[in-house]
Each structure stands twice: as structure tokens, then as C-alpha cells.
């Protein structure tokens, strides 16, 4: 087709062929990929635990996990999911102080979780190289910890921008809160699965 002299500095607006926002869809697919990454770590865990097994059951003799401390940590992380939800509801209503308070609380709860986990690591009495148990334990909880760290970063950026008043009640203007929120909920749900698998059953 003859490229006539169109004055198009801008692309024509793409036709939106799905009701779901492209960025939301993107993060859902990304989370699907993340779930599979956890899946590979769970596979390694179950190969060590079920296929090979260990003398004296699981955890093997001489290894013990602080189930109740981890339960406390679980409660902290689940609470942070609620505060995250609160922050999102606040920004949807145009309540900026609620948004800032929600994000700050979520961030602090997440940070507490990570600090408690770090302290747990130093007191466990075994290391990643001690046994396949140690390797898979640190593998799964460490992978999750890394995700909490990434989530905390995202929350921090959202917090910075909310302090500068970049967010608003219109859907387009609070996507920067919604996306980290979705990721944060994913990290929480993943922890519940990790906790139940590694500590409880």
C-alpha cells in the first residue's frame, strides 16, 4: 500500500480484543511461570523425601524444624495480604493516607517475616550441605525468601510513588499498586503451600 504522507507520530491505538488488561494478563502468566519454578523445587524436594526417603522418617534423625516459629511467620505473612488488600481498596476510593498506611504496614510485615526467617536460618543447627534434607529445605524456603525480597522491593517502589501522589482511583492510575499486590498475594499463597509441605506434613 502506498505509504502516503500520514502525519502519524503515534501508532494507531491497538484494538483491545480482551476484557482483561494486558498488564494484568501479563502478571498472571508470569505467576504461572513462577508456580512452575516452585514446581521444580517441590519436585526436587519430593524426590529426596519420597523416592529416596531417609532413615528415621522425615525430617531425618537429628534434624528438627521450628514449626511454631514458622507458624507465627505464616500468620504475619497472611496478615500482610490483608493489609495489602486494604491499601488497594484505599487507593480505589481515593484515600491516599489509607494507601500509604496499608503499603507501609504490608512492607513492615513482610520485612519482619524475612528477618524472622533469617534468624531461624542461623539457629536451625544444620546447613544446606548437611544432607538432601538440608538442601531441599533451604532450596524451597530460600526460593520463597528471594520472592519475598523481590516483593518487598516492588512494595517499596509503590510506596515511593504513592508518597509522591502518583496514584489515583481511576483503574489506569492504580495499576502500580494492583500489580505488586497480585504478586504479593501470590508470594503469600506460595508460602502457605511451602509451610504446609515442609513444616507440617
Amino acid at each position: 500500500m502506498a505509504s502516503v504522507a500520514h502525519a502519524h507520530d503515534h501508532p494507531p491505538a491497538a484494538h483491545q480484543s480482551s476484557r482483561v488488561d494486558s498488564r494484568l494478563l501479563g502478571i498472571y502468566f508470569f505467576i504461572a511461570s513462577e508456580v512452575m519454578l516452585f514446581g521444580s523445587f517441590f519436585s526436587a524436594y519430593f524426590f529426596a523425601r519420597v523416592v529416596v526417603g531417609a532413615e528415621g522418617g522425615w525430617p531425618p534423625e537429628g534434624f528438627e524444624l521450628p514449626v511454631y516459629l514458622a507458624l507465627l511467620n505464616t500468620i504475619i505473612l497472611v496478615t500482610s495480604s490483608f493489609t495489602m488488600h486494604w491499601a488497594l481498596q484505599a487507593v480505589k476510593r481515593g484515600n491516599r493516607s489509607g494507601l500509604v498506611a496499608g503499603l507501609t504496614l504490608t512492607f513492615l510485615l513482610g520485612l519482619t517475616f524475612l528477618l524472622i526467617q533469617a534468624r531461624e536460618y542461623t539457629r536451625l543447627g544444620f546447613a544446606p550441605y548437611d544432607n538432601a534434607f538440608g538442601s531441599t529445605f533451604y532450596g524451597l524456603t530460600g526460593l520463597h525468601g528471594a520472592h519475598v525480597f523481590v516483593g518487598l522491593n516492588l512494595l517499596l517502589y509503590a510506596l515511593i510513588r504513592s508518597l509522591r501522589g502518583h496514584f489515583g482511583p481511576e483503574p489506569e492510575k492504580h495499576l502500580g499498586v494492583e500489580l505488586p499486590g497480585i504478586y504479593w498475594h501470590f508470594v503469600d499463597v506460595m508460602w502457605i503451600i511451602v509451610y504446609v509441605t515442609v513444616y507440617v506434613i
Partner: protein
């Protein structure tokens, strides 16, 4: 490439790229000057970080190459990407600065230099992908030539056994992770938004970033030759434990390279999926999408779901090596075979990641050059989805002789044979599409037909290898080498060539030399068959793969294979010559030299900077060749006319 020069002058001053920096400030702006000083800096930083941390924790020795390699291959590439400007937008976002709305000044390429920048135009990125992957294809091909030189005669000639192991390992890794997978991603990048009637991909900046991860992955793998004491990784591209853990330090370069390549392909796949779902032109329902788009939809789903498993498998090896964990150490409760399960849970679907886009290309080309609608369009799309699902249920057919639990064998054998059904549907549909067509044997068509025939041979030997008793006999022999090359060379590479020739006029606006294209095809086709077909026989007679030396009785066939492989290698020169010369001085191709219906052919060649002046309206199937009055879409001024026609018909 002269891309739309008239648009450059039309840019409103507010949208023009920022004025070039002067003096020392040139060193801080995104670009290669910044790369020049950031890369050594990040190299030093990573080194200091490791040595500092080891000193603080009282480890000995301070200089531990394995840990340093991990730090270097993480920090230096990140520094490179940041220096090139890959993170600029997000850096603004993070720090709470107002982000500049995309001003599109990065769109299009006006000079060749624009191909060396972080460019957000999917057409530029597509070409960046293709040129980069062809470079790695050449490098990996040369490694194959070295191997064939060594194997031409029994006994040891040119290289020692360890170098030979490095050659075939890097050859396979580059071909798979840096050529086949990203070459399809490159073709998809160029074509998919055009086929959908979209101005670009859903996430252009992510798209640019995912391209720049590729050269990083490739250079990491290639530079493994430079690692002291042992050189390149040499445990094969499958990198089985415990060998991988016992290997010299170069093995880490495989693990880290795979992570970068994997991240790149996951990001591209996310982009494809979201683009296909959210950016189709009005009227472009899923059942009106070209099969190439369907194929990339299925492939991208596979990439998103399967690639994390190869990432995991290589993480575990890295941990076992560097942190001395016991994921795969049986003395400490680990499971050696777990590695193979996790690895093949990705790497069997990876076979389809390397095949399905080729299926899509073959469908486009065969329909256009036979001037007939695709036979059983919906079944073609559904069989892609069936392969996608079944592909996750067959991984252990690579492990029949691994010593895994024997009860897994039969179910995996059954699913493997079942997967031949959707694949067979596709082959018969191509044949039925050709039936009574007005076939034109242009170069893309020759490669597509070559693909169908060679892929059938590869598929048949796959059925042999999928049956437990035959596999036990043929496992780890040249029969397997023959099979994989019939699938990945005769299958994937032939379709990549078909795709490159088919869309070359669209990408460059110029026609390739048809005579050279045909010479390239016949040299490749004959060279390929003489190289790889005899491998079936020597394999069944027991010649093991992955060895530098072999029994003298296989000498004659290996000489034939080696001579043919050099001819095959030389045929690539014809291809490169044709591409370079035609790109510079080929005859103008016009918008639609193949008289194709899909949307990318309804715009100029090369397409306008934003693909369409106005989003087209899709009104019918993309494959109604030979059907009078059929249209796939209407563009620009035609819209009123067609609405009129529809009214009359109603």
C-alpha cells in the same frame, strides 16, 4: 536497510530523540560508550564482592573460580543491560520520577546503527533476533565441522577427547538455546503483530530487553572455552549429573548461560501470549488467526510453563557445585535420577518449542504456494493444542535406560506413541492442502516440502526410539544422533529457512535471488541426507555417540558423512551470500510478491513504522486461496466498500 525515511522527517519536534550529549556527558548516556566503562567496573565490583565476602566469612582460598564465575555471569550482564539503557524506563518508575510516556522515538531503524541500540520496535527486534541467531548458528556449525574433521578417520587426529566433548556440548547448546528457539522467536516477533493487525507487541520495552539477554547467554556459553583448567563445558547439552558436578569449572558457564537464555524466552513468550490475546484486530477471532499465530500461542504456553524446570535443574547443579548441597548426591540422600526427570520435564516440551513454530511456518507457506485453503484448519489448530498438552506427559521416554523405576516405562511409551496422532494429523493436512493445488516451487515452498518429508523420517525414527525394546538397543548410539538431526535440522532448521525466505521480501523490501535460493535448498537437502541418513545404520550397528574415536569398521561411512557435512556447511555460504547481497541490492519486492492473504502482506514492504495507518477490519479466514471474492481483511479506504457488499449479501 532504508526503512521509511519519509517518516523520520515527519516527527514532531516534541517527539524527536533527545539531542546528542556532548563531552564527558556522552559517557553517562545510555549506549555503548556507557557499556565500555560499566562492564569493567561491574566485573571488578563482582570480584571484590566475592573476595570481600569470603574474607569476611573466613573462607579459604579467597580466589575461588567457581564462585567468581557465578558472580561475574550475574553482575556483568546486569551492568551491561543497565549501561545499554535496557532498564531506563523502569529505573525512572522505581525512583518515583515521572516516567516519560513512550514517545516512539525509538521506533523504526533509520541506519544500521539503530540495530545496536535498545529499540522497542518489534520489526527491528525481529531482525536483531534473526541476525544474532544466525551468528550463533554459524559458530555452532563451525564446531560441528571440527567434530566431523576429527571423526573423518578412526583414531585421534586434531583434538583431544576433552576438547571434542566440549565441541559437541557447546554445539548443541548454541544450536538449541541460541539458534532454533530464538530464531523462531525472531520470526514471530517480526510477523505476529503484523498478522494480528496490531501496531506493536503488548510490552515493547520487555521485548527489547528479552532480545538483549540473548547475546549475553550466547557469549557466556562461547566464552566457556576460555575458562582455565578444562575449558568448555563438556557434559553434553543435557548436562547429566553426577558428571556435571564433577566437571571442571567451565560447566558453570552452561548453567548460567541457560538461565539467561531461558529468561529471555520466557519474557518473549509472555509477550506473545498477551499480544495474541489482547491485541487482535477487530474481527480477528481465534478461529480467524493464521496458523503461525496459533503455533506461537501453543509454543509460548509451553515456554512459560516448562522453561522454569530447566532453570530449576541448572540451579540445583549450580548449588551442588558451588554451595556443596546434595540435591543429586546419593551418598547424602539426594537422587541422581531426579535431575533427569526435572531436566526432561522441560526438555521434552522443548522439542515442541522447537517444532510448533515451524509447523506454523509450513502451514503459511504451503497454503500460499499451493494456492489452496489449509485442509482442516480447525483440526490443525486443535492438534497444536493437543501436542501442547500431551507434550507434558512423555518426558521419561528419554530415560528408558537410566535405571529409573521400570513401571514408568510403559505409560511413557504409550503417551509417546499417542503423540504421533496429532502430529500425523498435521502431516496429512499438509498433504491434503497440496492435493490438486497449483503448486509453485519457490524457495520457501521447497524448504517447506523438504521439512514435511524430512520430519516424517524423523518422526518415524522417533516412534522406534519411543518403543522401549528398540530404545534399549539404540540408546546412546548414532541412531539417536540421526533422529535428533532429522527432527531439529530437517524439521526446525528447514522451516526457519522457509520462513526467512518467505518473509525476506517483507522485512527488507527486496527480493532474494531465486536461483541462489534453489541452489541453497538442493545443496542443503542433499548434503543433509547424505550426512545424517547413514548415521541410522552406523548407529544400529553400535557406534556410540559423543565419542572422539571409534572402531575402524565404521571408518568408511564416517568418511562419507564427514565429506557430506562439509558440503552441508558450505551450502550455508550460499545462503549468507544471497541474504547479504539481496538485502543491499535485490530487486524491489513490492508489498505482496506471493499474493498472500494474511495481514502482513497487505502493507508496504518493509511495513510502515507503526505497521498500519489504521487498524484493519478482519472479515474472513486467512487461507481462502482460490475462492472467488474471498477476503481476509479490509484496510483503510476499503472499509465502506465491504460493508456495502455484506449488506447486499445479507
Amino acid at each position: 536497510m532504508a526503512v521509511e525515511i519519509e517518516h523520520a522527517t515527519e516527527h514532531h519536534p516534541a517527539h524527536a530523540p533527545p539531542p546528542p550529549r556532548r563531552g564527558l556527558r556522552r559517557l553517562t548516556g545510555a549506549g555503548w560508550l556507557r557499556v565500555l566503562w560499566v562492564m569493567p567496573l561491574s566485573f571488578g565490583l563482582a570480584t571484590l564482592l566475592v573476595i570481600g565476602a569470603r574474607a569476611a566469612m573466613g573462607f579459604d582460598p579467597l580466589w575461588e573460580l567457581q564462585v567468581l564465575i557465578v558472580a561475574w555471569t550475574v553482575v556483568v550482564p546486569l551492568g551491561f543491560l543497565a549501561a545499554l539503557g535496557g532498564f531506563d524506563y523502569w529505573a525512572y518508575w522505581i525512583s518515583g520520577k515521572p516516567t516519560r510516556p513512550e514517545d516512539h522515538s525509538g521506533h523504526g531503524a533509520r541506519t544500521w546503527k539503530d540495530y545496536f541500540r535498545v529499540n522497542t520496535d518489534h520489526k527491528v527486534i525481529g531482525i536483531q533476533y534473526l541476525v544474532t541467531t544466525i551468528f550463533f548458528f554459524g559458530a555452532a556449525g563451525l564446531m560441528a565441522m571440527f567434530m566431523r574433521a576429527e571423526l573423518a578417520r578412526p583414531g585421534m587426529q586434531y583434538v583431544d577427547t576433552n576438547t571434542f566433548n566440549g565441541l559437541f556440548s557447546v554445539h548443541a547448546s548454541l544450536m538449541i538455546f541460541l539458534f532454533i528457539i530464538p530464531a523462531f522467536a525472531g520470526l514471530g516477533n517480526y510477523v505476529i503483530p503484523l498478522m494480528l493487525g496490531a501496531p506493536d507487541m503488548a510490552f515493547p520495552r520487555l521485548n527489547a530487553l528479552s532480545f538483549w539477554l540473548l547475546p549475553i547467554a550466547g557469549l557466556i556459553m562461547m566464552s566457556s572455552y576460555l575458562v582455565p583448567d578444562g575449558g568448555a563445558f563438556a557434559a553434553g547439552w543435557t548436562n547429566y549429573v553426577p558428571l556435571a558436578v564433577q566437571q571442571p569449572d567451565g560447566n558453570l558457564m552452561f548453567q548460567m548461560g541457560v538461565q539467561w537464555a531461558g529468561a529471555s524466552s520466557i519474557m518473549t513468550a509472555l509477550n506473545f501470549l498477551v499480544t495474541i490475546i489482547t491485541m487482535r484486530a477487530p474481527g480477528m477471532s481465534f478461529w480467524r488467526m493464521p496458523l503461525l499465530v496459533w503455533a506461537n500461542f501453543a509454543t509460548s504456553t509451553l515456554v512459560v510453563l516448562a522453561t522454569p524446570f530447566v532453570a530449576g535443574s541448572q540451579f540445583f547443579i549450580m548449588f551442588d557445585r558451588v554451595l556443596h548441597t546434595n540435591f543429586f548426591n546419593p551418598e547424602m540422600g539426594g537422587d541422581v535420577i531426579a535431575y533427569q526427570h526435572i531436566f526432561w520435564f522441560y526438555s521434552h516440551p522443548a522439542v515442541y518449542i522447537m517444532m510448533l513454530p515451524g509447523f506454523g511456518i509450513a502451514s503459511e507457506v504451503i497454503s500460499v504456494f499451493a494456492r489452496k485453503p489449509i485442509f482442516g484448519y480447525r483440526l490443525m489448530a486443535l492438534s497444536l493444542m493437543a501436542i501442547l498438552i500431551l507434550g507434558f506427559s512423555v518426558w521419561a521416554h528419554h530415560m528408558f535406560v537410566s535405571g529409573m523405576q521400570s513401571w514408568i516405562r510403559i505409560p511413557m511409551m504409550v503417551t509417546t506413541l499417542v503423540i504421533a496422532v496429532p502430529t500425523g494429523i498435521k502431516v496429512f493436512s499438509w498433504l491434503a492442502t497440496l492435493w490438486e493445488g497449483r503448486i509453485r516451487f519457490a524457495t520457501p515452498m521447497l524448504f517447506a516440502l523438504g521439512f514435511v518429508t524430512m520430519f516424517v523420517i524423523g518422526g518415524l525414527s522417533g516412534i522406534y526410539l519411543g518403543s522401549v525394546p528398540v530404545d534399549i538397543h539404540a540408546s546412546d548410539t548414532y541412531f539417536v544422533v540421526a533422529h535428533i538431526h532429522y527432527v531439529l535440522f530437517g524439521g526446525s532448521l528447514f522451516t526457519i529457512f522457509a520462513g526467512i525466505y518467505y518473509w525476506f521480501p517483507k522485512m527488507t523490501g527486496r527480493m532474494y535471488d531465486e536461483r541462489l535460493g534453489k541452489i541453497h535448498f538442493w545443496l542443503t537437502f542433499v548434503g543433509f541426507n547424505v550426512t545424517f541418513f547413514p548415521m541410522h545404520w552406523v548407529g544400529l550397528q553400535g557406534m556410540p555417540r559423543r565419542v572422539a574415536d571409534y572402531a575402524p569398521e565404521f571408518g568408511n561411512w564416517n568418511l562419507v558423512i564427514s565429506i557430506a557435512s562439509f558440503g552441508l556447511g558450505a551450502s550455508t555460504l550460499v545462503f549468507l551470500y544471497n541474504m547479504i547481497v539481496s538485502w543491499r541490492a535485490g530487486a524491489p519486492a513490492g508489498p505482496n510478491p506471493w499474493r498472500a492473504l494474511t495481514l502482513e502482506w497487505q502493507v508496504s514492504s518493509p511495513p510502515p513504522i507503526f505497521n498500519f495507518h489504521e487498524i484493519p477490519q478482519v472479515v474472513g479466514s486467512p487461507y481462502e486461496y482460490g475462492v472467488r471474492g474471498a477476503r481476509h481483511a479490509v484496510l483503510n479506504g476499503d472499509r465502506a466498500a465491504v460493508e456495502e457488499r455484506e449488506k447486499v449479501e445479507a
